[in-house]
Assembly symmetry: C6
Homo-oligomer: 296 residues x 6
Amino acid sequence: MTQSTTTLFRSYLIEEYHLTEEPYYKPVGDEIELFEAAYKQKIPLIFKGPTGCGKTRFVEYMSYRLGQTLTKVKQTGDDGAPRAGNIPLVTIACHEDLTSSDLVGRYLLEGDSTVWIDGPLTRAVKVGGICYLDEIVEARKDTTVLIHPLTDHRRILPVEKKGELLEAAEGFLLILSYNPGYQSALKDLKHSTRQRFVSIEFDYPPRDIEAEIVEHESGVDKDMAMQLAKLGEKVRNLREHGLGEGASTRLLIYAGKLISQGIAPRRACQVAVNWAVTDDPSVQKSIEELIGSIFE
Amino acid sequence: MTQSTTTLFRSYLIEEYHLTEEPYYKPVGDEIELFEAAYKQKIPLIFKGPTGCGKTRFVEYMSYRLGQTLTKVKQTGDDGAPRAGNIPLVTIACHEDLTSSDLVGRYLLEGDSTVWIDGPLTRAVKVGGICYLDEIVEARKDTTVLIHPLTDHRRILPVEKKGELLEAAEGFLLILSYNPGYQSALKDLKHSTRQRFVSIEFDYPPRDIEAEIVEHESGVDKDMAMQLAKLGEKVRNLREHGLGEGASTRLLIYAGKLISQGIAPRRACQVAVNWAVTDDPSVQKSIEELIGSIFE
Amino acid sequence: MTQSTTTLFRSYLIEEYHLTEEPYYKPVGDEIELFEAAYKQKIPLIFKGPTGCGKTRFVEYMSYRLGQTLTKVKQTGDDGAPRAGNIPLVTIACHEDLTSSDLVGRYLLEGDSTVWIDGPLTRAVKVGGICYLDEIVEARKDTTVLIHPLTDHRRILPVEKKGELLEAAEGFLLILSYNPGYQSALKDLKHSTRQRFVSIEFDYPPRDIEAEIVEHESGVDKDMAMQLAKLGEKVRNLREHGLGEGASTRLLIYAGKLISQGIAPRRACQVAVNWAVTDDPSVQKSIEELIGSIFE
Amino acid sequence: MTQSTTTLFRSYLIEEYHLTEEPYYKPVGDEIELFEAAYKQKIPLIFKGPTGCGKTRFVEYMSYRLGQTLTKVKQTGDDGAPRAGNIPLVTIACHEDLTSSDLVGRYLLEGDSTVWIDGPLTRAVKVGGICYLDEIVEARKDTTVLIHPLTDHRRILPVEKKGELLEAAEGFLLILSYNPGYQSALKDLKHSTRQRFVSIEFDYPPRDIEAEIVEHESGVDKDMAMQLAKLGEKVRNLREHGLGEGASTRLLIYAGKLISQGIAPRRACQVAVNWAVTDDPSVQKSIEELIGSIFE
Amino acid sequence: MTQSTTTLFRSYLIEEYHLTEEPYYKPVGDEIELFEAAYKQKIPLIFKGPTGCGKTRFVEYMSYRLGQTLTKVKQTGDDGAPRAGNIPLVTIACHEDLTSSDLVGRYLLEGDSTVWIDGPLTRAVKVGGICYLDEIVEARKDTTVLIHPLTDHRRILPVEKKGELLEAAEGFLLILSYNPGYQSALKDLKHSTRQRFVSIEFDYPPRDIEAEIVEHESGVDKDMAMQLAKLGEKVRNLREHGLGEGASTRLLIYAGKLISQGIAPRRACQVAVNWAVTDDPSVQKSIEELIGSIFE
Amino acid sequence: MTQSTTTLFRSYLIEEYHLTEEPYYKPVGDEIELFEAAYKQKIPLIFKGPTGCGKTRFVEYMSYRLGQTLTKVKQTGDDGAPRAGNIPLVTIACHEDLTSSDLVGRYLLEGDSTVWIDGPLTRAVKVGGICYLDEIVEARKDTTVLIHPLTDHRRILPVEKKGELLEAAEGFLLILSYNPGYQSALKDLKHSTRQRFVSIEFDYPPRDIEAEIVEHESGVDKDMAMQLAKLGEKVRNLREHGLGEGASTRLLIYAGKLISQGIAPRRACQVAVNWAVTDDPSVQKSIEELIGSIFE
């Protein structure tokens, strides 16, 4: 059990993680204004939209932006507490085995004594950060029920194992996301949960904006980026012809990155887009033709 | 595992939490009289009604009101016990993973010794508070069975892990809630449980009262509040046309709050009402038309 | 984790709980004679019958009565053991998460050492009390199997975690209850279990006796009690018209108690009987008419 | 957690429990010879037969009888080990939650050190007793698989948590029982298990022998016993007319015991036989008529 | 928790268990040559075949035989390590509750410190023994996946709880068995598992060889053994007429053993063969006739 | 619990395991170039393809090759950290019981103190190795969700039990594999997972290359290897005629190895190919004919 490794990696406390550089984000509509209005009114948010359309990036951008623009209420010096300019962002990927203890915290035996370890949600509640529960419909019922009191006017988190109630710090905001085209009837978000949130619907960016993003992120030139964005658009149109879900912007960027490493565009699009979105030979054939028509 | 945060949040013991300000509540019928009669007779209650129609707010209001009006039996000085004016309110959101230990308590190892931690139900039983089990039909069978002896004339809570029986303190009352339009056959409340309670049915408030509530809570003016209440009424009528559940009063308040932040009413109603209640494009279209007809 | 509460409640050891006052019970047939014959012959019993027809009350009554009438075999002075006049009654509400450890006992870590805590069944076996397993069909198979050796001529409880067998003390009797109109095929009591018991079937009391009970328990006058008993009878007749289960005597008593607090009889019967037994609007309408025909 | 009870009960170590008096058993065929032949050849046995037909009693009888008749191999003095005349009998009621640890043993923390506690099967293996696994088809697969090596020519029990193999002591024999008319396809005994055993089929005793048993066990006279045996026979014939399983001899004895306490025969048979075997009103009616025809 | 037993039994460390006498085994084809070729090439094996056809006995025989014939690489003196002549055989009966920890090992608290206990698979890997996983299709997926790296050219066992990889000692071989006529679609062996093994199919031995085995193992004479083998053959032919699985050689030996104890052949075959293979009355009748035709 | 074994085996820390000899690998297309481009761009990869077509071997080859060709960034001397020439390869076989703790790590009690043990994924993240999650579709949802942040631009692993985030070391790459012809709808890889990876599809090697591999690995001569490769090709064509999956290259090598031990080719192919790929008698017959036609 020797651990003979020099530190090749970096580690952070979850609640101290915040973005130090402005994330690249291209707004599509009034999503920034809506977010700011909700944040001021302490109204929790749901983001709905397909895989890889930019929801996570938007949350990162807003947590950075709000840190820059909000008044400096929290400037508390060198005691380790968050300062203006830093809105901690706590992201939690939901899944069916996530327990409420995973979110709220648990007792751990440490040597001879038992120590309480706050979960990521409790950490966000205490420091007044943004807590982003990604793919909430995957979560077990105890998780979704747990967040209800945080969306009441009292903004309370019950920590039942400690017999305590926590009132969320100023600045705390809860955000959920899910993909409505994706979820099954079994994994529907209950009305008693969803009616506690304002919901913003997202979609893939329009071709021009997507080309800008691909160019910026992958290093290909403007023309190639435009062609990749065009491919993305066309593949998404196949969704009515047997394709489960369209290609994400991320996959277009991957294709661009492989191209910038010298892989031929058609091969790059085959592995980064076509084979990535489907295993179905007939759908693969259709996408292959799309790729061929763009990158002759 | 350092926890370098100054205290930006507040915490309470669960059984000491009570309301210090009168919650805003507009009665619709004789619900206050019924509650008071049941409370005096120690008859446990079930509240039935749709999501967000005000059941939780009513419990909060009654726990505050009873604290003000009841005789001062419990005025016990500065020993930390509840005083007249304070009826502790313990709220528990039920879900399918809630165990009886979550309600009654458990042993925790603390350093070298084992400490018993009372669960929230036990805390309410001991201090004579109101215990509100929200969405009881979500609870597992062991939870619902556990409360049976508390509804007998003996008002007893068995704490089996300690080999004890607790007789509830004067003032203790058990209240359940569920949404009958919501629950499935699988999650029906058993007769052996439901026949231990008097049941009060709730519905959304009538338009005038709802407008008053929206105005009071969101800060919009009377006219805007009336229009939002009208929208709520119309959306609820869609329930027979494919909408799972009507818009709660809470969502109307959210719309009002966004409007008071400068978001245009139609956009505010889109994100706070329409997208919040449904993912179905055709239902969304109908609601969009309703919104358009009210906020031209 | 401070527990700043003065003792507003009372607690007992499970096996020391017994009734100090005679419970109010009106016999309907020869159930008292049957119980006494079985108790003398150490034959375990099953009580079958609908929700709230008085099975639990009968067990309480018999445990008090037997304590008064049996010879004083167990008069053992002030050592804490049960005395004549006291037959401890241990009631266990069964549910699908009740484990055999919940019944028999478990080891708990206490400080540096491990302590065995007897479960409620073991406590009843040791002191020679009556153990009443309510709604046995809800129990898991390991629970029902566990009681088999206690119904053999040897009357033995295996405590496998301790590697021990316990022979039940003189006076111990096992009683099960269930509701045959209620249980599903899935939750049938196995023949290898049920053929170890003599079974007594119970039903709601006839109108005259039920009126006496309602009058005695709720404080309304004889006429009102008769009308409530009449309502109960009529509601039970609806069982063939879509009502899952008839109204229990308990609900009639609740209605009486609300009436004695000044609530109008029709409203009292609406919340205590009608809404308590069903969520189905058409059945509610039928019951409303019944109520209207009795309390014009 | 004080345990203020004088010892009103008796307790034994599981492996030291043996019968000190000859159990009353009336052989029906050559079952005693078959058992003795198998015991000498160390061939494990399966007993098949309906509920309450005497399988358990037969095992008890044989463990007593073999203790009397076998040569005194194990007479080892006052060291606590079993002596001739004592073949320990370890009975385990199987159910779907019985784990292999429940059978083999587990580590328990005791104060500062961990102590291994042998399970009942391990105890039987070590002392060379008879281990009777009742209703084996209810057991989980890990339990049934666990016993396979004990039925090989090597007669070995793997105690995997200790990394050990135990060779069974001389005298150890494994016996299973199940009810073939009862089990579902889901709970079938696998061929890889059942083909490790010689199987003996049991049925209810013929009328004369059953009457003798009822008379001996319940205290009624010969005539009454004969009538009860006749009732048992007739009720069993109803099995083809909707009755799940016939009345066991045990139930006839219960009826006899109630009769000997002064309960009228028809009432005694109603509660001890009719209501005990079925909840179905039409089957109850048929049995009522049978009872009426015998006890006019 | 006193354990007052003198040692009537013997115990071994799992990895030190090996056969000291040559097991009786009659080869049917070239199975010995195939096994030796695979063992030299370190190719893992699957044995397919019906219940009780001799797969386990063959593994025991080969482990003994290889210990005798292989060069004496492992002769390491009196340090407790295996010597030539001893190839440890570790047999594991698979079932659906067998966890990977059961195979690989786990940490156990022992007094104040935690001790790692190797599981049986780890023990076989370390000493270079034969590990026989019986009825592998019963195992959970984590178990079957666990053995994959042991069948790679690297022959590695990941012990993830210790963060280690173990390279198997020279001599280690993995053997699985299952019954293809038995398994359901649900319990199919995955191709990613089965294509890691060479598979040998087994069947019941031909009549002459089986008679030799029965004679040798049960003590009956040659004629009787021949008749029993003939019965086995005929019963197996019933498999197409409703019999789940044919009678194993083991059952024929049991019949022989009962006969050698003086039980009449027809009765012996009834309990050891007929009732052992089926509960179905019509199949029992057919087998009864077979028995009658052989043992008139 | 004595462990009397001399060390006959070797053990490694998981994160220090790397290949010291170049694995034998025959490229089929541009898979090496694609892998290198993705590795430079830190794009995670999915390998799709049938059982035993060489995916695992390819990962081993690339981890060795990249260690040889990459610039010597990580040459850090004798402190135990990885050096150029060594890219650690951490392989994890996924299955439905693999928890996120199995991947990330857990606290273990060690003597009096609790020690955190990194899981294999955390080890790969920290040392900058290649982490290969084999058969990812078998994994539980919590496992697949866990890897999402490692595929974001931030390359972060949340270690929630420690309240930490780890940024992956330079050189870390995540690779998944699955078999698209194999997986059920239930075990589909979610789009939110698969669209985070570039996907490369693999198939069995063409006949000439496969023959070279079989010759090299099994020791048979070129002709025999060619015949075995021909058999492989023909068996795979049977996939449309009831065969679940074609024979892997590995099975052809097994056949070759048995042949090189003197087993006749037809018998070797029967046990190593035919019986290994199917239990279905009619498919076995077809394959037997194929074998017969090649090895007359």
